[in-house]
Structure formats: structure tokens, C-alpha cells
Amino acid sequence: MKDVTLLVSGFVIWSGAFLLIYALHATGCALGVRAEVLRALLILAFAVFVSAGFVPLWLAIRRRRGLLGQSAVIATVAALVATVLTFSTVLWLGLC
């Protein structure tokens, strides 16, 4: 079952990042949180999720055997790249 878990875990992390960063941004803007504090929180969340994305990638590379294992490596790389690309705008785009 580990191969299946690894196959989806990268994108589960991406989904978690999506929900949390989107919710954090919307709530922060609605609550009127100071721009620099909100940006720091968003960057922190971004960094945490990117770091978390390396964990399934590392595990998938270690386990890389069989068809599912190889698919898991591709999927976790794709998920990590997707996480970096999707949320990198928290570093520079205007906030609210």
C-alpha cells in the first residue's frame, strides 16, 4: 500500500497547501491583518509545504521499484514543482 500512498501523497500535500494558503490569504485580508505579517505567514506556509513535498519525493526515490514505484517518483516530482509554481506568487504579488 506504500506505493499507492506515495503515488498520491505529493498531490495531497499540494492540495493541503492550496486549501491552507488560499484560506490564510482570504481570512488575513478579511481580518485586516497587517500586510507584512500576512506576507510573512504566507511565505512561512509556502516554505513548510515545499519542504513537506520533499519527504514523499525522498521516500519514493528510495522505494523506486515496480511500475507503481516509478509512477510515484514522477507524481511526487510533479507535485513538488506544482507546489513551487502555484504558490511562488506569495513572494512578490500584491496582497489584498
Binding site: 482570504a26 478579511a30 511500475l67 507524481a75 506544482a82
Partner: protein
């Protein structure tokens, strides 16, 4: 036992009967075909409505239709094509094919398939009847509020959509659970996950997407119907609601829906292209990773339908980038298919013509999709005919063309006859030319500024382009008429064949065609991938009984396997034909019709009837025991196995339900931070009393088995009833309406907890107990969350103010 004797005995066991007995059929070939047949009828109806739209738009200021009728026509065209054609058609195809591709004799829950089918047909009939009677929905297929709210849509038109589509969606959710459990558990011995045919991988991901994609829309429909029927102001900005909540809930479903429709068609392409290229699929591993990626990424795009609603740019960027990113896994598949053709020797027979049509049209639609994913471009093209052209290129290219290829490919399996191809080429080219004539120029119409859903216009340039589109529409219709005639000729006059006419490697061809009711005389044991077999050799061996469960015992038996390794683990005994699915669907129809005509006591009576009938489904079950499975194996039947299909089904039901609950909490939170007039002058709810249901819920979490949950869930239900009774002003502010909805949700789950716990305590089967315990734990978590949520919402509301 000779193959003929085995056939006669198995057919006696699996046959559904004749005459009125057909209404009791639950077998997958019958139900699968039944799903596809009305889907095609609805496709014809939707197509005719498209012709009416094109007639209206062929000239400026056309007097053909008045605006109200036009609104009903375009609303029903979209709703029919999305909800009554595309989804049910691929569900039917999957139901027909999956067991045969995976080496099983049926789906995991045949009665659930049949129930879903009846719900689909009845729900669809309600929508069509409304169209005939002139009270069809008229607020667009996405039913945006406030246009669809009772203030601006006072008749029953919008109710027909909300209730009819929700009725139909029962079939989609039941099919999702059915497909997930069937793919994971009911396969040939030795067919590990990585030996599954690629189509099964696609359907596994699609079923998972349906499981979490449909609940937000069902929840949104319930909330909007509650607003229309009981004046609960979830979407009314004058009372703390927000029309944008509907858009969020709708597109949370609506965008994954596009991929839910595309992926089965992509599964067809990944199956057909290697067969017609006489080679193996290139990049199987990358494709598996790509469809998993699409399954997730497609849920991060919903706001790209809402770029023009004023959401901050940073949030828009997440959705814009994700919308562009989803093109990558799509491209991986397209390049894999091209590589497969390049490495093989492609035969350009009729199915491949339609595959070629897919390539041209879908790639064009995909490219305009990436254009629309860019916020600045989208703001220019938003709500214009450019979007209409884009979505038709994607949906017709990405679904109708591949499914037409699938029809030519698998119709011989259903009918036992091969194409004669008198009209096939003419039909394809007429459709292809007509389609591009209709929609290519429509991009320009949109870029010139023509808004969608407008019934008349004045610009002479728009008139030229619209006239061309209308002519193209009629050419396309002629093409589809030719296609229908061609397929009818195939069914009537096609050439009979022995086995595997396309020289495929799929297990579904390792049987006589048309297939027997039981699919396989014996369940095979595989040591190769399920789409690289030799059906011509394997078929006779299976008919001769070389495999599992080859000796008929009077029951409908199929093999259950370990989900990952494919090792045989249980004998799953399936139900005989039954009228219960039809009766239960009729009672369910009673619930929806009572709600539609606002006869609420009748809705309660019908709901009791539905629950009672579902309880009857559990009669006549096998006792837990060990059985000889053949090939030297003795296996437990599913009731004696620790993880039977029903337990897996409950896990998936909980996942779907949790998505709906999360959507409800998201909705309340969204209103709190985005809607005007929050918090209300007086905060609704009974204060600390709200926590009352959490106490018995915590006990249930610790002791989910035996008689304890019956008592504790009763206490939780009473607690939620008290909370609801003390929540004032439900019609005055969305805060009270939202908190009431959360309390009702918790109470409903406690009530179901009482039912499940009482039943399992009475029957005491090991599977009954484990299924009930799973629900009790989940309902406990729902109750604790529902109890604590009002405090979080209040905190958030106070912070925002």
C-alpha cells in the same frame, strides 16, 4: 463438466428473466446498456435544443423565440448535455466494461447500480417533462444566484433544476462508490494494481474525483432550495448571504466535472490507440502519474470561472497558475498517444478517424483553455461566445469524438457484429467539418464582444459569423444523423465474428460476443498486464473452467482480491435480480416530487418508505462461511472476511459525506468573512448549550460498538434538536441559517447512527458491526465539530467586524 453444461448452469443462475422480470435486472451488462441508451436519447434532445438555439441566432433580432423560451432552451441544452448525457453515458460504459476488463462477473453492488439507473431515468424525466410543459429551468446551466433565487425566478423552474439534477446525482455518487469498490476488490486473481488495464486506472481516478466533486454541488443545491422554499438567506446579500457562495460551491464541482468527463474518454483513447497501432502503450507509468496529477490539479481551478468577481489578485494567481499547469499532464498523455502511434503501425480504421478528430479539436480547445487561464485575457473574453467556442472544443473534442470511437470499437462486443462502414466515413467528415464551421468562427464572434446567453443582437458582423455557425450546426446535425444510421446498420446488418475482432489484448474480448450474463465461465488467474493478453487463447480455457469459481453452486459468485497485490482473498456473493432498486427509486422519486410541489408531509412519508425499503435490501444474506474457490484455494465468503466490499463502500461514503460537511463549514466561513452585514446584531444560537451534543458524541468515539451508540446518538440527536429550537432568526440572517444547517447536519448523522447501531446490534454480523462502528466514529466527529463550530464562527465574525 463440459463448457456447454457450465454455460447452461451459470446462465440459469445469472439470467435476469424476461417480460416484466426485466424490471428486476441488476446484472452489469443490462444496467450498463440501460444507462447508455437513455443517455443517447438525452443527447438527441440536447442536440435538437442546440438547433433551436442556432436557429434563433442565425439572424439578428430573430422573432423565432421570445427571450423566456430562449432562456429555457439554452439552460436545458447545457444541463442535459452535462448531467443527462455525458456523465451517465460513461458510467454506463464503465459498468458494462469494467468487470469484463478486470476479470469479474459483475460490479460489487449490482442493486446499487440498478437503483442509480432508475434515479437517473426518473430525475431526467422530471427535467424533460418540465421542458415539455414550459416550466423548464431558465437561469443557465450553472444556475447563478440571485437570478435563480425566488425573487428573480419565482416559479418552479429553478426548483426543477435543483431537485431534478440532485435526483440524477444520486446515480453519479452511487456509481462512484460502485466503481471504486469494484476496481479495488473485484479483479482476476493475480491482477495487481500495476497489472490493471489502463482504462481501469482512469476510472479509478474518475470515481475518486466524482466522490469528492459532486458533494459540493449537492450541498449547494440543498442550500439554494432551502432558500427558495424556506427563505433561509444563504445567498441573499441583504440578509448576510452572498451570491458568490453559490459560484464557489457550483464550480468546486463544475471544474473537476470537465475532467470527470474528459478522463474516461482519455481512458478510451489509451485503450484504443495501442490496439490500432499494433503495439503497447508508450509511457504507461507516466500516464498513471499524469492522471493522478490531473485528479488533484483539477480541484484547484474552480475560481478560474470567477476571475471577474473581484477576488484579490494573489488568490487569482494560484488558480491561474494551476489552470495552466493542468495542461501538462494532459500534454503528457497526448504525447504518449502520439509516441504510441509513432512506434507502432497505425491502422486508420473508423475508430481511429474519430481519434484523429479528437486530436485536432481537443488540442485547439486545450490551447484556448490556457488562454482563458490567464487573468488579463479572461477578463476580456469572460462571458462571451469565445468561452462557448472553447468549452465546445474541449467537451465535444474531449468526450464525444473519443466516445464515438469507443462506440465503433465496443459495439461489436455488445452486439456480436462488426461495422459494415457504408456511412462511417461520410458521417465522420460531415461531423468534423460541421463542428469546425460552427465553433471556429465563434471564437471571433466572442472576441468581437458578443455576450453568451443573449437571444438577439444588432451588429452586422456578428450576424455573418452567427449565420456561418448556424449553418455549421445544421451540417453537424446531418453528420450525427448519418452516424446514428451507420451504428444502427452495424447493429442490424453487421458482420458476425468469432472473437477479438480488433486483435486487442484486453480481457473483455476473452469471451463470446454478445457476452453471456455471467461474463466468465471461470475467473482467470493472470501473470501479465490485463491489456496485453491473448483473448483468443484465454477465452476457450476460461469457458472450459480453467480458473477460479468454475463450479456453479447456485449463487452469483465472483472473486474478491487484495486491492494491491491481486491475491485472491474472498468469494463475493452477489444478489439475485430484485424489484427493490426500482421500488426504492420510486419512493426516492416521491421524496423529490413532494419537495418540488411543496407537499412536505408526503416528503416525510416517502423518506420513511425509502429507509424501510433500504432495510429490506439486507434480507436473504449469506451466512459467514468458507468456500472452495477452485485452483486448490479455500476462501471465506465476503461476510466472513474482515474487509468485505460493503465496509469499503462505507469508507467511501464517509469520504463523500465528509466533503459535503467540509463544504458546509467552508460556506459558513466564507459568508462570515466575505458577505456584508456580519456579524448580525444579535448572535444567534443558545451559547454554551451548543456544546451539548458533543458530550454523547465523545462517548460514541470511545465506544462505537454494541448498545452504547444507540443511547448516545439518541442523546446527541436530542441535543441538536434543542440547539435548533433555540436558534432564533433563521430567515433573518445567514448566520442563524448557517448555524441551523450545521446543527441539522449533525442531527441527521446522529439519527443515521441510531439506525445503523440498532441494526448492527440486532443482526450482530461481523460486517454489520464494523460498518456501524465506522459510521459511529464519523458521526461522532461530525457532532463534535458541529458543536464547536458556532464558537469558531463567532470568533471569526467578531474579528472581521
Amino acid at each position: 463438466m463440459t463448457p456447454i453444461e457450465r454455460h447452461k448452469q451459470l446462465d440459469r443462475i445469472w439470467n435476469s428473466g424476461t417480460g416484466f422480470q426485466r424490471l428486476s435486472a441488476v446484472n452489469h451488462p443490462v444496467v450498463g446498456r440501460r444507462f447508455m441508451a437513455p443517455a443517447l436519447v438525452f443527447f438527441v434532445i440536447g442536440g435538437l435544443l442546440a438547433m433551436l438555439i442556432r436557429t434563433q441566432l442565425a439572424s439578428s433580432e430573430s422573432p423565432f423565440m421570445e427571450p423566456g423560451t430562449y432562456a429555457q432552451i439554452f439552460t436545458m441544452h447545457g444541463s442535459i448535455m452535462m448531467f443527462l448525457f455525458a456523465i451517465p453515458f460513461f458510467e454506463g460504459l464503465a459498468m458494462y466494461l469494467l468487470p469484463k476488463m478486470l476479470g469479474a462477473r459483475d460490479m460489487a453492488f449490482p442493486r446499487l447500480s440498478a437503483y442509480g439507473y432508475w434515479c437517473y431515468v426518473m430525475g431526467g424525466s422530471i427535467l424533460i417533462a418540465a421542458l415539455v410543459l414550459g416550466v423548464a429551468p431558465d437561469a443557465g446551466w450553472f444556475m447563478y444566484t440571485p437570478l435563480s433565487s425566488s425573487t428573480y425566478s419565482p416559479g418552479i423552474n429553478a426548483d426543477v433544476w435543483l431537485l431534478g439534477v440532485t435526483f440524477v446525482e444520486i446515480s453519479a455518487l452511487s456509481a462512484a462508490v460502485e466503481m471504486l469498490v469494484s476496481i479495488l476488490l473485484l479483479r482476476a486473481g493475480g491482477m495487481s494494481l500495476d497489472r490493471m488495464p489502463i482504462f481501469a486506472w482512469y476510472m479509478l481516478v474518475v470515481a475518486g474525483m466524482m466522490l469528492v466533486g459532486f458533494p459540493p454541488l449537492i450541498l449547494g443545491s440543498i442550500l439554494l432550495e432551502a432558500e427558495r422554499a424556506f427563505d433561509l438567506p444563504f445567498f441573499d446579500p441583504t440578509r448576510g448571504g452572498d451570491p458568490l457562495l453559490w459560484q464557489h460551491l457550483f464550480w468546486l464541482f463544475g471544474h473537476p466535472e470537465v475532467y470527470i468527463i474528459f478522463l474516461p474518454a482519455a481512458g478510451v483513447l489509451s485503450t484504443l490507440i495501442p490496439v490500432f497501432s499494433s503495439t503497447r502503450l508508450v509511457g504507461y507509468r507516466a500516464i498513471v502519474a499524469a492522471i493522478v496529477a490531473m485528479g488533484f490539479l483539477s480541484f484547484g481551478l474552480w475560481v478560474h470561472h470567477m476571475f471577474a468577481t473581484g477576488i484579490p489578485h494573489l488568490s487569482l494567481s494560484f488558480f491561474s497558475i494551476a489552470s495552466a499547469l493542468v495542461a501538462l499532464p494532459t500534454a503528457i498523455q497526448i504525447f504518449s498517444w502520439l509516441a504510441t502511434m509513432a512506434t507502432g503501425r497505425p491502422r486508420f480504421s473508423v475508430p481511429m478517424l474519430h481519434v484523429g478528430g479528437f486530436f485536432f479539436i481537443f488540442v485547439c480547445g486545450g490551447l484556448t483553455g490556457v488562454m482563458l487561464a490567464m487573468v488579463p485575457f479572461d477578463l476580456q473574453a469572460h462571458d462571451t461566445h469565445f468561452v462557448v467556442a472553447h468549452l465546445h472544443y474541449v467537451l465535444v473534442g474531449g468526450f464525444v469524438f473519443p466516445m464515438t470511437a469507443a462506440a465503433y470499437y465496443w459495439l461489436p462486443h455488445i452486439t456480436g457484429r462488426q461495422p459494415v462502414q457504408h456511412l462511417s466515413h461520410a458521417a465522420f467528415w460531415t461531423i468534423f467539418v460541421g463542428f469546425n464551421l460552427t465553433f471556429l468562427g465563434m471564437h471571433l464572434t466572442g472576441l468581437l464582444g458578443m455576450p453568451r446567453r443573449s437571444w438577439a443582437y444588432q451588429d452586422p458582423m456578428w450576424e455573418v459569423l452567427n449565420f456561418v455557425s448556424s449553418m455549421g450546426g445544421f451540417v453537424t446535425t446531418i453528420g450525427y444523423a448519418l452516424l446514428a444510421m451507420d451504428l444502427l446498420m452495424l447493429v442490424k446488418f453487421g458482420r458476425p465474428f468469432r472473437r477479438d475482432p480488433w486483435k486487442s489484448g484486453g480481457l473483455e474480448w476473452a469471451m463470446p460476443t454478445p457476452p453471456a450474463t455471467y461474463a466468465f465461465g471461470a475467473i482467470p488467474h493472470l501473470d501479465a498486464r490485463g491489456d496485453s493478453l491473448s483473448p483468443a487463447e484465454l477465452g476457450p480455457k476460461l469457458a472450459a473452467g480453467e480458473g477460479y469459481l468454475a463450479t456453479p453452486r447456485g449463487e452469483l459468485e465472483t472473486l474478491g482480491v487484495d486491492p494491491l497485490s491481486g491475491k485472491p482473498s474472498q468469494v463475493v456473493i452477489l444478489p439475485h435480480p430484485s424489484y427493490l432498486p426500482l421500488m426504492t427509486a420510486l419512493a426516492t422519486g416521491g421524496v423529490f416530487l413532494s419537495l418540488l410541489f411543496k407537499v412536505y408531509p408526503m416528503a416525510i412519508v416517502s423518506t420513511v418508505a425509502v429507509v424501510t425499503l433500504f432495510l429490506f435490501w439486507t434480507r436473504g444474506r449469506q451466512k459467514p462461511q468458507m468456500l472452495d474457490a477452485g485452483m486448490g484455494l479455500t476462501l471465506p465468503n465476503h461476510r466472513a472476511h474482515p474487509a468485505p466490499p460493503s465496509l469499503w463502500a462505507m469508507r467511501f461514503v464517509v469520504a463523500a459525506d465528509a466533503t459535503a460537511f467540509a463544504s458546509l463549514l467552508f460556506g459558513a466561513g466564507f459568508l462570515c468573512i466575505s458577505a456584508p452585514d456580519w456579524p448580525p446584531a444579535i448572535w444567534p444560537g443558545p451559547g454554551w448549550l451548543t456544546l451539548l451534543p458533543a458530550i454523547p458524541a465523545l462517548v460514541v468515539l470511545l465506544a462505537p460498538k454494541g448498545i452504547v451508540p444507540v443511547i448516545m446518538q439518541t442523546a446527541a440527536l436530542a441535543g441538536f434538536a434543542l440547539v435548533l429550537a433555540r436558534t432564533q432568526g433563521m430567515t433573518e440572517h445567514a448566520a442563524a441559517a448557517s448555524l441551523s444547517a450545521v446543527a441539522i447536519y449533525g442531527g441527521l448523522h446522529a439519527a443515521l447512527g441510531i439506525l445503523f447501531a440498532g441494526y448492527s446490534h440486532w443482526r450482530r454480523g461481523p460486517d454489520d458491526v464494523s460498518i456501524s462502528a465506522l459510521w459511529q466514529r464519523y458521526a461522532g466527529i461530525v457532532a463534535v465539530t458541529a458543536s464547536g463550530f458556532p464558537f469558531i464562527l463567532r470568533l471569526l465574525a467578531t474579528g472581521v467586524s
